[in-house]
């Protein structure tokens, strides 16, 4: 996966703040400082996805004299709900009322370094560490209370932030009182442990969102809602295509628009105006000429180009012997699956406000990576780290797209050049043009089954779309997975930048794997659920499938059976997930209507079942888009999709009845919830379409045109 905007190897800057005196920054009270990533070995390492995490003490809990507990975290809230689930965990461990907990998120001056909010890591990695730290903090506070009350610690109890003597409850002191007049730093070495969660008051209880009232009244502030005195709006001159180079420019027309200031730094040209619409008026008056050196490729020729390219190949995993697998197989199946570029398309476009006081720049940005943006500004604008502050207000959707932070650098640069507060709000067209798309790719699979319907061979080849989710998951003796990626010396394959898109790569891989499984089941004349169960040894996967079959009320049938029912399963972010869908296909128009989706998930301990349900429903709904309509159309470096008329995302009329089951796993550590369910939707619908019509979909999305074409081949 090419990822132009994130390079964590250089991200040592912010992490290097180390043991400065934190109390100076935060004023009085008791500050608990810990390293949330110390116990990472308990979980799968994010490092395998090329992500590095800081190794120092860097997370804080602060107890103030009024008893308020503040958690400072570099993570941000973009709709995934950690603003609710993180305090839930903390309230239980510290024994304080939930309303005493405040979250300060994504402020680089106040919060500890964090590589970014992504990968469904907040609850599964940060959460347990924070819980463990809170438990230790409680022990420390109890010790302090013991000294103060002259009562042995083992005779003390804590309830609602008050420590008291079990034998004489009137002998008591609150956390707030313990913090009064103190300036104390405590370093905690924490190792998250799996505990008995049943004793908890808040954790595992469905809770409503903490940000709800602000969001329904219009009071919640997103980056674009902030205003500063003297603020100007910017519009930036954009090339017509990726790879175009500015040759000549005439800005005189723009300068004639009332109140417009033109700012130029090399090829970077912007107009500033106190009036947002005048800035838009001015930008189109700039006359610019470009030279073009684009790749000769478009959304149709891309896939053959990928397969035929001079690529770097690496074997991702191998077991057994493919030749033996071939011999042991009774039937061999070869398929090629294709997945195009897909846009993140959050409703809030990339937005940032920057202010420069001649010394320090402050940027309020819609970003998933406040510290990445801080480092980006340091790198691109040459400011010292301590002269750059990034603050993250509410973020209007991210999905991986706001890991990229170009707009924040643009705002900072313009604020410095103009010495005015500058607001940059990307238009929808800019949002599509500069998106770091989900990478397009091709998957070629050669697989084989024996006479009993057991899979003996799995030769899996990934071209340019990435390996996450490429595990076979089935019990196959002879396996090889090979990834073909950009060869440094060869012609560039992706014509523009790509990056993580909700469950990166896994949507592509699960589409290919689960479609291929269905193809084999159908050919063998075995019910697709039975075929999966016959070839699985993974208990979690088996239980998920059984749970979803139960929820759906599934009855076995060979496919295609005309019912329009499809199955898919897989795992992502250490969470196991399975789904069954029912669709109706209009054979005259090719339109696919999804009627029902049932989905089951094993996500270990579910901290906030309500929040987890929202994420599952969101995944299923958002997944309808990449499966049915979403596709970037391009010619060379020109992105043809400019707005939601040519890039269709899911609508109310598409949404099926959704039924979710979260398996009860209170004894297991929590795993990711923001992404897993979305991985299934491509294969789920492809398999349902096949069951309905006998037509097999090999290329996403399943547009009406593609469905009609596939129907012709039946």
């Amino acid at each position: 996966m090419k990822n132009t905007n994130i390079d964590n190897s250089k991200n040592t800057g912010s992490a290097g703040i180390k043991r400065r005196s934190f109390v100076k920054l935060f004023g009085g009270g008791i500050l608990f400082i810990f390293n949330p990533f110390a116990g990472l070995d308990l979980f799968s390492s994010p490092a395998e996805q090329g992500r590095t995490l800081t190794k120092d003490y860097n997370a804080f809990l602060r107890i103030a004299s009024d008893g308020t507990v503040t958690c400072y975290t570099g993570k941000i809230e973009m709709g995934q709900g950690i603003i609710t689930s993180l305090p839930q965990m903390m309230a239980d461990e510290l024994d304080v009322p939930l309303n005493k907990i405040k979250m300060v998120m994504g402020d680089t001056d106040l919060c500890p370094y964090d590589a970014g909010t992504w990968g469904s890591l907040s609850t599964q990695v940060f959460g347990p560490a924070m819980r463990a730290a809170a438990a230790e903090a409680k022990a420390v506070l109890t010790e302090m209370a013991s000294t103060r009350l002259k009562v042995p610690a083992d005779r003390l109890q804590v309830k609602d932030g008050v420590v008291s003597d079990i034998k004489n409850p009137s002998v008591r002191v609150s956390y707030g009182q313990l913090a009064q007049g103190r300036k104390l730093e405590k370093y905690l070495d924490v190792k998250p442990q799996v505990e008995d969660y049943t004793k908890f008051v808040y954790t595992t209880k469905p809770l409503k969102r903490h940000d709800a009232v602000e969001k329904v009244t219009g009071k919640a502030k997103y980056a674009g809602d902030l205003r500063l005195p003297g603020m100007v709006f910017a519009r930036i001159l954009r090339p017509p295509s990726h790879g175009a180079k500015l040759e000549s420019v005439d800005v005189s027309g723009a300068e004639q628009v009332k109140g417009t200031q033109v700012v130029r730094d090399g090829d970077f040209i912007a107009v500033l105006n106190e009036n947002q619409e005048r800035a838009s008026e001015a930008i189109v008056k700039i006359k610019a000429e470009y030279s073009f050196n684009e790749l000769k490729v478009n959304d149709k020729t891309l896939f053959d180009r990928m397969v035929g390219a001079d690529s770097r190949s690496s074997v991702v995993r191998t077991s057994g012997d493919l030749e033996a697998g071939f011999r042991e197989s009774d039937r061999i199946f070869e398929s090629e699956f294709r997945d195009p570029y897909v846009a993140h398309a959050p409703i809030e476009t990339h937005t940032a406000l920057a202010s420069y006081d001649g010394d320090k720049v402050t940027v309020w940005a819609a970003t998933q990576t406040p510290f990445g943006l801080q480092d980006g500004i340091v790198r691109e604008l040459g400011l010292p780290l301590e002269k750059v502050r990034v603050i993250t207000p509410y973020v209007g959707g991210g999905f991986g797209g706001k890991n990229a932070f170009q707009q924040g650098i643009e705002a900072a640069k313009l604020a410095i050049l103009s010495r005015k507060p500058v607001m940059v709000v990307w238009t929808r067209e800019e949002e599509f043009f500069y998106d770091n798309f989900h990478p397009a790719g091709v998957i070629r699979v050669r697989s084989g089954i024996d006479k009993n319907g057991l899979i003996k061979l799995w030769d899996y080849n990934i071209y340019y779309s990435g390996t996450r989710g490429s595990e076979t998951i089935y019990d196959v003796p002879h396996v090889r997975a090979t990834s073909y990626s950009q060869n440094m010396n060869a012609v560039q394959i992706h014509p523009f930048s790509t990056g993580p898109w909700r469950a990166p790569n896994n949507n592509t891989n699960t589409f290919a794997r689960e479609s291929q499984i269905d193809i084999m089941a159908s050919a063998a004349g075995i019910d697709p659920l039975e075929f999966r169960l016959r070839n699985l040894k993974d208990e979690k996967m088996i239980e998920c499938l059984k749970a979803v079959a139960d929820k759906f009320g599934y009855t076995p049938s060979k496919t295609p059976g005309g019912r329009g029912i499809g199955i898919a399963c897989g795992h992502d972010a250490n969470t196991w997930v399975a789904a069954i869908a029912e669709v109706r296909v209009d054979k005259s128009t090719g339109r696919v209507q999804v009627l029902r989706v049932a989905c089951s998930q094993d996500m270990g301990l579910c901290v906030n079942p309500q929040g987890a349900l929202l994420q599952m429903e969101g995944c299923i709904t958002m997944g309808l888009g990449y499966a049915l309509t979403e596709e970037i159309q391009f010619e060379g470096g020109v992105i043809k999709n400019k707005n939601f008329d040519t890039y269709e995302i899911p609508r109310f009329s598409w949404v099926p009845k959704i039924e979710c089951v979260i398996l009860d796993r209170k004894d297991k550590p929590p795993t990711g919830g923001g992404e897993p369910a979305i991985i299934l939707i491509g294969a789920l619908l492809a398999n349902a379409i096949h069951d309905a019509t006998g037509a097999r979909m090999y290329q996403m999305p399943f547009t009406r045109k593609r469905v009609l074409e596939a129907l012709k081949k039946v």
Partner: protein
């Protein structure tokens, strides 16, 4: 050229000096400080900027402010009264009918326009009424449930 334009904004008589060709969205957000109404696409496709003019939902990003002249404009900020949430707002809270919340003001205003016209919509009518409003987080099923419930409450049901 700037002109004086007057309208009733959230029940309050409002008069401003503005270029009448500016969009209502821009005037609301940048001149009147009501940033609850959101920019999403600039072309009326997404519905994040929806407000009511004389109880009719309009895409404020495509409507010149002059269209509001002399009329009653209601934005998301005008719904709660004396700190009490409007039944639609309360239903969105109760149903967790959003995630990132960015499309929420436009959803609520579109739904309000729908309920004012049709106080007892069926599920299908709600889907049809909201179909031009986009939500990327996928809160759709909850939004439908919230609007159904709000309709019942607004009719005086329990």
């Amino acid at each position: 050229m700037e002109e004086k334009i007057g309208f009733y904004l959230n029940g309050k008589k409002t008069e401003i000096l503005t270029d009448p060709s500016q969009t209502l969205l821009s005037v609301l957000r940048n001149q009147l400080g009501l940033t609850g109404t959101k920019f999403g696409c600039g072309t009326g496709f997404c519905g994040a900027c929806t407000v009511l003019i004389d109880n009719e939902p309009v895409r404020s990003c495509t409507v010149p402010v002059s269209d509001a002249s002399g009329k009653r404009v209601i934005t998301i900020e005008g719904l709660s009264k004396n700190g009490k949430l409007h039944p639609l707002q309360q239903a969105f809270v109760d149903h967790d009918a959003f995630q990132c919340g960015y499309c929420t003001p436009g959803m609520i205003m579109t739904a309000l326009g729908l309920l004012l016209k049709n106080p007892s919509p069926t599920r299908e009518q709600i889907i049809e009424g909201l179909d031009e409003n986009l939500c990327r987080c996928g809160a759709h099923v909850r939004i439908i449930d919230a609007v159904l419930e709000a309709g019942t409450k607004m009719r005086g049901g329990k």
